[in-house]
């Protein structure tokens, strides 16, 4: 499977390169839409283009030439007009008629697409071949893209990139803080117009490949895939573009190799994996995987963080309980279970981790005992808890009976800085509000070598 020939083979290069360029442009524009919090507008304008497509096809039928490139241009131009009309309709409804954003979007999508379907069903009877042509733009047909389309897509990608780069700083200001941008004269109308123009351009040029219906997905999926990975704006754009391009490439590869494989395995069946939907499936897969696996904000990361945190709380509770029992006390697994009141697995894991950290040792008879290091750690935890209680009572005037609970929750999230601050504030105290002894600083320190 020579991947390079996807860029050289006359059959494959136009679909591959064209789709990759389309993915590049669409993902940049989609990222803009996502950051603008107007992700749905891409969907609405894609569907609003449909009546333009049909009308354009009809107008093209008037002219005597064969359905060639010129009629495609006509169709694209009228689709662009329809998109514009849709965009204006949405803002008219929102601004003049004071209709809510989601209602306006739904309305425009439904009405425009309905008009398109009406026109299409009319020409189904009268211009059957043109009807087929307009379906081509609705669903796309990647496989029949020709080399002539590569420069057009390259132009689209270049234009999109150029606008994003030129307007990068005004865009950043506008998307983040619109009021600030307006007050500072950052040409908000120009930027808005450029962004809308880019969106319409992406839809109209891209619809020949992946179709108008799937275009909305291509706008949004790479952006969603990119967002959880970074907090830098430029990195968002770069990642979105990468996901867009890679999805397009993979879609093409799997469409060809997959079809071949299936044809070999099942020669009587005629399996054909269409490219457009596969591209979108890859983009969606990337989005799902990102949402799940991204570090820090991904779902998996959050689950792991939570689990680790709960584990730590359980361990620290065990240490505290052992501290209360006394310096050289021993506990068995069953007693630990009682203290922790957690599941078998968590208790076992706690004991394992504490032993591994060197805070517990296993004595004869399967009993556990605190080491010196463990004792120091336990002292520290208790010390922090009780210092917090002092703080809450003396400085925040909380009731003595209430502070224990709060301190329970706070003791686990103590950072080193907060600890130092607390100690600085309270000094070296001996007793907490409940007249319980506070372990001293020395007891709570494990000497480091």
């Amino acid at each position: 499977m020579d991947l390079l020939h996807y860029f050289s083979d006359p059959v494959l290069r136009a679909p591959t390169i064209g789709c990759m360029l389309m993915g590049f442009a669409a993902s940049l524009v989609g990222m803009l839409m996502l950051l603008k919090r107007q992700a749905l507008i891409g969907e609405v304008l894609s569907h609003a283009a449909f009546p333009g497509i049909v009308a354009g096809a009809l107008v093209a039928s008037f002219f005597p030439w064969e359905t060639g490139d010129l009629s495609q241009i006509l169709v694209m131009a009228s689709a662009a007009l329809a998109c514009l009309a849709g965009s204006w309709a949405v803002s008219f409804l929102k601004v003049r008629m004071r209709i809510r954003s989601d209602s306006a979007l739904c309305f425009v999508l439904a009405v425009f697409f309905g008009v398109g379907v009406l026109l299409a069903s009319q020409i189904q009877m009268t211009h059957a071949v043109l009807y087929k042509q307009s379906l081509l733009f609705l669903y796309g047909q990647v496989a029949t893209m020709t080399d002539a389309m590569i420069p057009i897509y390259a132009l689209l990608a270049f234009f999109t990139l150029a606008i994003v780069i030129i307007l990068y700083y005004p865009l950043q200001a506008l998307l983040f803080d619109r009021q600030f941008a307006t007050i500072n004269g950052l040409r908000t109308t120009l930027v808005d117009t450029c962004v809308s123009a880019l969106l319409i351009l992406a839809i109209v040029v891209g619809m020949r490949s992946i179709g108008v219906v799937l275009m909305a997905g291509m706008l949004i999926a790479p952006a969603i895939a990119a967002r959880p990975w970074t907090h830098r704006l430029w990195a968002c754009f770069v990642l979105a573009a990468v996901f867009g391009v890679v999805s397009s490439f993979l879609g093409n590869v799997v469409s060809v190799e997959g079809s071949r494989l299936l044809a070999e395995k099942y020669p009587e069946w005629k399996f054909s994996l269409p490219t457009g939907p596969l591209i979108l499936l890859f983009a969606a897969a990337f989005a799902l995987l990102s949402l799940f696996f991204a570090p820090k904000s991904g779902i998996l990361a959050r689950i792991i963080r939570m689990a680790l945190f709960r584990q730590r709380i359980a361990r620290e509770h065990l240490l505290k309980a052992l501290w209360r029992k006394g310096r050289n006390s021993l506990i068995s697994q069953e007693e630990a279970a009682e203290m922790l009141s957690q599941s078998l697995l968590i208790r076992w894991f706690c004991l394992l981790w504490l032993s591994w950290e060197g805070l517990l040792t296993k004595e004869a008879g399967g009993l556990y005992c605190l080491t010196d290091k463990g004792w120091a750690r336990a002292c520290r935890i208790v010390r922090l808890h009780r210092l917090w209680e002092v703080y809450l009572v003396d400085y925040l005037s909380q009731g003595v009976d209430k502070v224990h609970r709060s301190a329970e929750e706070l003791e686990h999230v103590m950072s080193a800085e907060l600890e130092t601050e607390l100690e600085k504030l309270l000094g070296d105290l001996r007793f907490d509000p409940h007249s319980q002894p506070i372990p001293s600083r020395e007891e709570a320190t494990w000497p480091t070598r």
Binding site: I166, Y168, F176, I183, N184, G185, L186, H231, L233
Partner: protein, 261 residues
């Protein structure tokens, strides 16, 4: 063109009437705030139009009638000379942007289209962060900051703009005493540089302590002048009293009749 030399008033408002969303908010305001380093407080009861006045001055809301002059010119010509810190920014907190990036936005107004911020701008931004005590948080994403810290970032951004007039909407609301003091010190520094600060202020008890010029507002202009002259018990009572309820109601009815939503 220093306002000090030419004695152009910092802000001049004549016959300003404005509606905002559903209510008539300002009625025939005539206001003159002289230049040269004043700290101006705009006070009044809730719904008096204080925020709206600010928005009209900044060009965010168009008045129904009347006009505004900032430093003797229309707003369009002096945008580089004004800065605004909103109450609780209507910004996208999840936006991929760090504290330093936000502060650097202060220089975008000065930047022509194809330029990007220079090293000098970056250094200046860091100095501004230092000034508000937020330099350690320079690379944090803004949603990871507390409310007070976020306010400081926006303050740093405004400082970065090096404007002549600073507009602020209740900067002391919900701030602890220590931060309030720090912010006030920054204001005093600005005042020393002969900058004008126009602040919508909610706490009457601190007006005399901080501000040397007061604008008392309740849809109409009740009073405007140096604090010592204007900030009297009688003025306050007039503003916060019930007399203006009738005018409010009448103005609202007029709008309704005129068919405005």
């Amino acid at each position: 063109m220093h306002s000090q030399e030419r004695q152009e008033p910092a802000i001049e408002v004549s016959h300003l009437t404005a509606n905002y969303q559903k209510a008539p908010v300002l009625w025939d305001i005539n206001l003159l705030i002289p230049a040269g380093g004043r700290m101006v407080a705009i006070v009044g009861p809730n719904g008096a139009g204080k925020s709206t006045l600010l928005k009209v001055l900044l060009g965010l809301v168009s008045p129904s009638s009347g006009h505004v002059r900032i430093l003797g010119r229309p707003l369009e010509e002096v945008r580089r000379s004004i800065a605004y810190i909103p109450q609780r920014g209507d910004v996208d907190w999840d936006f991929p942007i760090t504290s330093l990036d936000v502060v650097m936005m202060g220089c975008y107004g000065r930047m022509p289209l194809l330029r990007w911020p220079s090293k000098r701008d970056r250094d200046l931004a860091q100095r501004m962060l230092q000034k508000v005590g937020m330099l350690p948080y320079a690379h944090r994403q803004i949603s990871q900051l507390s409310g007070g810290q976020q306010q400081r970032i926006f303050l740093a951004r405004a400082l970065m703009q090096d404007a002549e007039i600073y507009f602020m909407d209740e900067p002391f609301a919900g701030i602890d005493a220590v931060t309030e003091q720090e912010i006030f010190h920054l204001f005093q520094e600005l005042q020393k540089e002969k900058k004008t600060l126009v602040v919508v202020h909610h706490d009457l008890s601190t007006v005399e302590r901080y501000f040397d010029w007061v604008v008392v507002l309740n849809t109409c202009l009740i009073a405007s002048g140096p604090t010592s002259e204007v900030f009297q018990a009688e003025t306050i009572l007039r503003a916060y009293g019930a007399n203006y309820a009738l005018l409010n109601e009448a103005a609202r009815l007029k709008l309704y009749q005129a068919g405005l939503p």
